[in-house]
Amino acid sequence: MKLHFTNDWLRSQIEKDADIECDAGIPLRDTAPIARFARPAPNDQANPAPEGKMAVLHVLVHQLRRRDNLTVAQLADRIRIDIEEVETIERDPNYVPRPRTMHMLAEYMKVSTQAVQSLTADAIARNDNMAQAALKFAASSKDLSALTNAERRGLNDFVKFLASYKSG
């Protein structure tokens, strides 16, 4: 995420602001409602996905791009995200895209955002059904440089599975 202000601007605002309180919304007292947001970093190599449970979002995005004859830049433009993020998704199996990116990918694939989220490393590790389907899909994806008929079938079957995916 990009910040739209500079530190110079921030420093001058802090100097100008009156010395008053700024708390808003629910008055946070303990961690009960926010503990769900504290998860181990998915890029933490000390916590890889368990054996037999592999993240496949990177493979899926790459294959979708090949199927639709799109360059990285064209896909990024199509779903309105940065080229660098598409590259990172394809390169790093443990990368978890930001919510808007997952939403745009989901719209492109015509599946739910939850289905896309379920393909990330930390989510796969918690969902046996998805892990099984992902493993089957990944196993059929050997050569990423060209999409064979078998790979195309595997990809289409997997996207169908995603379209019917229900979280929880």
């Binding site: 921030l10 309180e21 919304g25 629910i26 947001f37």
Partner: protein, 211 residues
């Protein structure tokens, strides 16, 4: 996932100097531990003091009913993709935390300039008790609110909402949001513990970082 967004300045009121703080998107177990072990005891202690001195819990924004209601409201949202959470760390401590939501019924503008347009809603922006003048005599860091609210505005631009944000200000912070951030006071919200609701309009958002 917790990712460093930027190193930002916070002003140490005690010595008048700016210090480097880390602004993160996401939280981790350390932040939770800070809140439980460092924030919470101070809140509890302040509540005890308030009872002794005859202050109401509302005066120090420590009403249990509001907190219980808020906890349930957040827990009721099942889709974690609706939320983003940001944290400010400085001097080895969690100085402030902000939870925002990007979709759902609260994320529609009430501003007459763009009624029903989507916005980023700030569920809460909380600063550590030692930074709050209602809780301690000599608050430490200044700038936590300015930094986090500017982050929410940035997120709104990133999410193509043109800088629109909305929030319910706690008593004592209304002046900050109206006069200093430039948000519009849309009145008392009877459906939200009687707090005043504020929004940053597109026109004010367009000017805020380019005065």
């Amino acid at each position: 996932m917790k990712a460093l967004l930027s190193i930002v300045p916070l002003k140490n009121r005690l010595n008048g100097s700016f210090e480097e703080a880390s602004l993160f998107q996401g939280i981790d177990a350390d932040n939770l531990a800070h809140i439980e072990a460092r924030w919470r005891p101070m809140f509890e202690q302040r509540k005890i003091e308030a009872k002794k001195t005859g202050e109401s819990l509302a005066e120090i924004n420590a009403e249990d009913a509001h907190w219980e209601w808020g906890k349930k409201a957040i827990a009721a949202v099942r889709d974690p993709f609706l939320f983003d959470i940001f944290v400010l760390e400085c001097a080895g401590n969690t100085q402030a935390i902000m939870l925002v939501r990007k979709g759902g019924e609260k994320c529609f503008s009430r501003h007459p300039d763009h009624l029903r347009a989507p916005l980023i809603y700030v569920d809460f922006l909380s600063t550590a008790p030692w930074n709050r003048s209602r809780l301690v005599k000599e608050p430490v860091y200044k700038g936590c609110g300015r930094t986090l609210i500017s982050t929410a505005i940035s997120l709104s631009f990133e999410e193509e909402m043109r800088g629109r944000i909305g929030l319910h200000s706690l008593p004592g912070a209304e002046e900050f949001y109206q006069d200093q951030v430039g948000m519009t006071d849309l009145g008392t919200d009877r459906n939200y513990h009687g707090l005043r609701y504020f929004e940053l309009s597109i026109s004010n958002a367009a000017r805020i970082f380019n005065p």
